[in-house]
Every structure is written in structure tokens, then in C-alpha cells.
């Protein structure tokens, strides 16, 4: 079953006279349970593509269907709520809330979803355990290493029980051991819980772990390989 379908996605940025085709006629589907890397050189459109899939950016043309709902047609307020309930985000620079502890960062998203305090507490502890940070639950982001922060970010993305997780260059700021550690965790979650991951990267070691690799160039799909 396709969780995401895109049809003829185009994103054109115009800066005065110059027009940039950040996405050029991208039609592609993603299935439940995929572990997919979006690769390509800098400026190839990876970020734009992920932002469009996540409803952060609207395409100039084309549609993004998530479970058969066209999210490009949703109003600004609706799309925020849609993201909250359906999509998990992991960013390159972690982007945790600095004044909240690791556990509170994870709980925060469930709070917005309206979970009870007990449920939030229980699930946050489970997720911290899943990313191997039970001991660090009371630390704030500033007291965690980059790798630890990114693991909290993955746990936060999972907390809302999304349909899929989008991660834009999640390992770009991490050293090789943290990168491996994070990928192990993501891989495990994908295997055990069938969580769908779509992540962009240009790190060969990360690409090697992906089950499907989509290569972009100048906003176009150059190749789409299942390994």
C-alpha cells in the first residue's frame, strides 16, 4: 500500500529573472515500511522534496497524496495539525526545545496531541529506552552530545505515532560512531515496528544501509533503486 504518492511535482523558485527548478516533474510513490535514502549533490532538491512531502512547502504544480488525501489542498492551519498527527520530523540540527528536558521534549508532542499525563509519561520512557537514553531523561539538550540529541529527536518524531518519518540529513552533524548508532536505532525501528523512514543524505555509509535509494539531480529523479 502506498503511504505517499506524488504526481508531477514541480517547485520553481524565481529570484528576479532567474528561475530555479528545485523540483522538476517528480512522480514517485512510497510504501508503508520503507527505509529510503534520498541522495544527490548539494542543490539537487533533496530538502525541497522532503519539505514538500511534509507539507512545509507547497509545490508550484502537482500533488502530494498521503493515504489518499491531497495535502497540497489543505489550509495553513489544517496542515499544521495534519503534520502533528501524521508526520514525524528529524532535522539536521536536532532542533530540540532547549528549555525542556529530553523526556519533556518527547512528551511535548504528545501533549499537543492531547494524551493524558500517564500515557505521555509511559510512552516517553519507552521511547527513551528504545533510543538508549533512559539515563539521560532529565538532561536538557545543552547537556547532551549531538548524537544523543539526534536520538531524542528521533524519539520525539516517533512519539506522535506518525505514518512516516522525514529526516533531512539527520547525520550530517554527527561523527561516524554517532552516525552508526543512530542508523542502528532507525534500522531497528523500521524492522521491528515497521516505521517508514525517508531520509536525505550524501554520506555513503548511510546510503549503504538504505533499502531503497532515490537519486535526485537538478530536481529530477535520476535513479530509483531497491537494494
Amino acid at each position: 500500500m502506498n503511504v505517499i504518492e506524488t504526481k508531477n511535482l514541480k517547485k520553481i523558485y524565481s529570484q528576479g529573472e532567474i528561475k530555479v527548478n528545485a523540483l522538476n516533474d517528480v512522480s514517485i510513490n512510497f510504501k508503508q515500511g520503507e527505509f529510503t535514502a534520498i541522495v544527490g549533490p548539494s542543490g539537487s532538491g533533496k530538502t525541497t522534496f522532503l519539505n514538500t512531502l511534509g507539507g512545509l512547502d507547497k509545490p508550484t504544480f502537482g500533488n502530494v497524496m498521503i493515504d489518499n488525501l491531497d495535502i497540497t489542498k489543505l489550509k495553513a492551519n489544517k496542515i499544521i495539525d495534519f503534520r502533528l498527527r501524521n508526520i514525524g520530523f528529524v532535522f539536521q540540527s536536532y532542533n530540540l526545545i532547549p528549555v525542556l528536558t529530553a523526556k519533556e521534549n518527547i512528551e511535548f508532542i504528545m501533549l499537543m496531541q492531547g494524551y493524558s499525563k500517564e500515557k505521555r509519561n509511559k510512552r516517553a520512557l519507552e521511547l527513551l529506552d528504545a533510543v538508549g537514553l533512559s539515563k539521560e531523561s532529565k538532561r536538557r539538550p545543552g547537556q547532551l552530545s549531538g548524537g544523543q540529541q539526534q536520538r531524542v529527536a528521533v524519539a520525539r518524531a516517533l512519539a506522535s505515532k506518525p505514518k512516516f518519518i522525514l529526516a533531512d540529513e539527520p547525520t550530517a552533524n554527527l561523527d561516524s560512531s554517532s552516525t552508526k548508532n543512530l542508523l542502528d536505532i532507525m534500522y531497528d525501528l523500521n524492522r521491528k515496528e515497521k516505521m517508514t523512514f525517508i531520509f536525505s543524505t550524501h554520506d555513503q555509509r548511510v546510503i549503504d544501509r538504505a533499502k531503497r535509494v532515490i537519486t535526485l539531480e537538478d530536481g529530477k529523479i535520476l535513479s530509483d533503486k531497491i537494494t
Binding site: L56, I80, V99, L100
Partner: protein, 403 residues
């Protein structure tokens, strides 16, 4: 959790928050103190002038205020008095009859106001014991006079001396009499001191041939009751073809004007302090908002509704403002209680007394001054919130996260 988040965000930049809180604290503290002092001063002025002589409300026969003669007097019966006294907020009533007369002693003569009073009741309004400087106060059955110290000085009167009074009584009757002076009063008001001659009400009615008639029915109000509301109640109750009801504001408009003018000066100070506070809060909120645009972008990306985000910013601003305001209010209270009443050094005290005021200013120690200022701060902080509100509404998460 949103409040927890707001609280922690405030302490992200401790120094800045402390400066903002201190600014609000100082402004509120000064505002409350300033207003307590001013309003206390006015209250004291009103008490001195109004409370001790004219009363807060007076009832006259219609037309008396414009033509103050004995012919414009009235005779209140028991039912009428009961009715007035049963109005909510009225504590008691007292009766006076007043008429201008010519006073003479030896070869001097001078115009005075002869006022017939009910000595016992009158002391509920005027602090007669404190006013007496020589001799004895009038009693219910006294046949003598109490005179203002200015009158005594003019005639060089001593206790026991006789003053001759000549005037016009009710309906053109001749009013004449000679009375011994039994007491000399300092009415704490130079004008009153120069023209006041008191006798008992029955004796004055006798002197003026106006049996049972009075010119003034004076009403005392209970503390913290509004004289204008009481006056309105009375106007609704009595026949306004026959009577006129006046508050001190109408009888002594100069006093109110003085207070208003002075109060306006104080309010300008308060306004300036609040401008400082407003800019202080605004500056902080401006920086808080600007440096957190990126974070707002993240929060909106992961699904935080803008309205929720706005709410946390409002919590932050209001919390920040409240901490300062509450501190200011809380600390102003003991200071006010400690300072009050303010006593002046001797020379200044003398100056005040010459002007007819008691040289003591009790600071106004009510809850509505701090409450008003607390509310103003709250309101200012809400207005300041319009800024982050507009930033958040316009915020595009992708742009905000691009640095």
C-alpha cells in the same frame, strides 16, 4: 506544561529578565507609592475641609445656596429625618441654622456668621475637643457663644466678655441679643476662624425668631461610601421642588479643582513611568521573539498550532510582567504602612496649618490602588503581545528555519 515552558523560557536569559522585572517592579512600586501619597493627601484635604465643617452632603430649602438667608429655611419633621437617615450609606445627620449678623463689642463691629448647632451631634463631624483653644465648648443647654480665634482676636475677646449680635431674623423680624463668650476655637481654616460664631441650635432659633427652622441639614456618610450615589438616592426620595441636595463637590468646587489639577500632575508622572515600563517589556519581548523565530519555525514544523505558540508567548509576557508587578505591589504595602502617616517638620507643619490643613498625611492604604496598577501592567503586557502575535501569524517555518 505550556506554563512550565513559558516560565523556563523567561529564565533563558536571566540577566535580561531580571532587568525587565526590576524595571516593572520599580515603576509599580513608585506608582503605588505616589498615588497612595497623593490620594492620601486629597483624602486628608477633603476630610479637613469637608469632613470637619461642610459635611459631604447638605440638604437645604430650595434656593438657599444662591440666597443664603434665614427666610430660605425649612422645618424638618421626625419622619423626614428618619427617612433620610435610613438611606444606605448615611451614618447620621445634624442640623444647623446660619445667618449673617453684625457683631459688636466696645466700639468695634464686624460681620460674622452666626451658626446654631447641636453640640453633641456636631462633635461627630467636627473634632471640637481638638479645636478648642480657650474656655469651654458649647453644651446642649449652653446660653453662651463659641467664637473662631479670628473673631476673638479682632474684638480682643476674653472668656466671659460679651458680644452683641444684630441681624435680621425670620420673615423680617429683628434679631438682637448679647451673649457671653465661653470658648474660643481654632477651626483650622483662616476664613472660618474670622467669621464664625456658634451658639446652640435652640438659642439661635430663638435669636432669629425661627422656631424649629434650620438652614442646613448635614449628612455624614459611612466610610468608603460614594457621596454622589447617596446624593442621588436622596434626590430620588425627596421633593426637589422644595429641597436642594448638594455634595461638597458642588459646594466647594475650588477644592475639587485643586485636587484634580494636582492629581493630573501625578498622573503624568504615572504615565511616564508606564511608558518606561511599556518600552522595557516591549524591548524584551521584541528580543525574545526575534531570537526565537528559528525555534518557532521548528515548533510549527513538528505540528504546534500557531494559536498554541501565541499562547505560550502571552504566558511568557504576562508572567514576566506579573512577577515585577506583584513584587512592586507586595513591597509597596509594608512601605506604605510603615511611612503612614507622614508628619512634617515644624516649619512646614505650621505652613500647612495656616492653610487650614492638618500637617499629617496618612497614605491611602487601599487595595484598589495596587489592584489598578497591577491591572494596568497586565493590560500593557497583553498589548505588547501583539508583536509576537503578528510575527507568529506571518511566520513561514521554512524561512524561519533558514539561517
Amino acid at each position: 506544561m505550556l506554563i512550565k515552558l513559558a516560565w523556563r523560557n523567561i529564565w533563558r536569559n536571566k540577566k535580561r529578565s531580571l532587568i525587565t522585572i526590576s524595571a516593572i517592579f520599580i515603576a509599580v512600586f513608585l506608582c503605588v507609592l505616589l498615588r497612595a501619597l497623593q490620594l492620601g493627601l486629597y483624602d486628608n484635604m477633603i476630610n479637613n475641609v469637608v469632613g470637619s465643617y461642610s459635611g459631604y452632603i447638605q440638604i437645604h430649602s430650595k434656593g438657599f445656596w444662591d440666597e443664603q438667608i434665614v427666610d430660605n429655611s425649612f422645618s424638618p419633621d421626625k419622619d423626614f429625618l428618619n427617612e433620610i437617615e435610613s438611606i444606605d450609606g448615611v451614618s447620621n445627620t445634624l442640623q444647623r441654622i446660619q445667618s449673617g449678623s453684625l457683631a459688636s463689642s466696645s466700639d468695634l463691629s464686624k460681620f460674622v456668621f452666626v451658626t446654631g448647632i447641636e453640640p453633641l451631634k456636631e462633635s461627630s463631624l467636627t473634632n471640637w475637643e481638638k479645636r478648642l483653644i480657650k474656655g469651654q465648648l458649647l453644651k446642649e443647654e449652653s446660653k453662651s457663644l463659641n467664637v473662631g480665634k479670628g473673631v476673638a482676636k479682632y474684638f480682643d475677646l476674653k472668656i466671659g466678655d460679651t458680644l452683641v449680635l444684630l441681624g435680621q431674623g425670620y420673615h423680617g423680624m429683628q434679631a438682637a441679643g448679647a451673649y457671653p463668650v465661653s470658648g474660643i476655637l481654632d477651626l483650622k481654616n483662616p476664613t472660618l476662624n474670622k467669621i464664625s460664631v456658634f451658639m446652640t441650635l435652640p438659642q439661635a432659633q430663638d435669636f432669629l425668631s425661627a422656631q424649629n427652622m434650620i438652614t442646613h441639614l448635614i449628612l455624614n456618610k459611612k466610610e468608603n461610601k460614594d457621596e454622589d450615589a447617596i446624593a442621588l438616592d436622596i434626590k430620588n426620595l425627596i421633593n426637589d421642588e422644595v429641597y436642594e441636595v448638594m455634595t461638597w463637590r458642588e459646594m466647594i468646587p475650588e477644592l475639587e479643582q485643586t485636587i484634580k489639577a494636582d492629581s493630573a500632575g501625578g498622573l503624568i508622572m504615572v504615565f511616564i513611568l508606564y511608558m518606561i515600563v511599556t518600552f522595557g517589556i516591549f524591548g524584551t519581548v521584541l528580543m525574545m521573539t526575534q531570537e526565537r523565530k528559528y525555534e518557532f519555525g521548528v515548533l510549527i514544523s513538528i505540528g504546534m498550532k500557531k494559536i498554541r505558540l501565541i499562547k505560550t508567548m502571552i504566558y511568557e509576557t504576562v508572567l514576566l510582567a506579573s512577577v515585577g508587578a506583584i513584587l512592586g505591589i507586595a513591597l509597596s504595602r509594608p512601605v506604605i504602612i510603615f511611612l503612614s502617616p507622614i508628619k512634617f517638620p515644624k516649619e512646614q507643619a505650621q505652613m500647612f496649618e495656616n492653610l487650614g490643613f492638618e500637617a499629617v498625611i496618612p497614605l491611602m492604604n487601599t487595595y484598589d490602588i495596587p489592584l489598578t496598577h497591577g491591572f494596568i501592567i497586565f493590560f500593557i503586557s497583553l498589548i505588547v503581545c501583539l508583536y509576537p502575535l503578528s510575527v507568529i501569524i506571518k511566520l513561514d517555518p521554512i524561512k524561519a528555519m533558514k539561517i
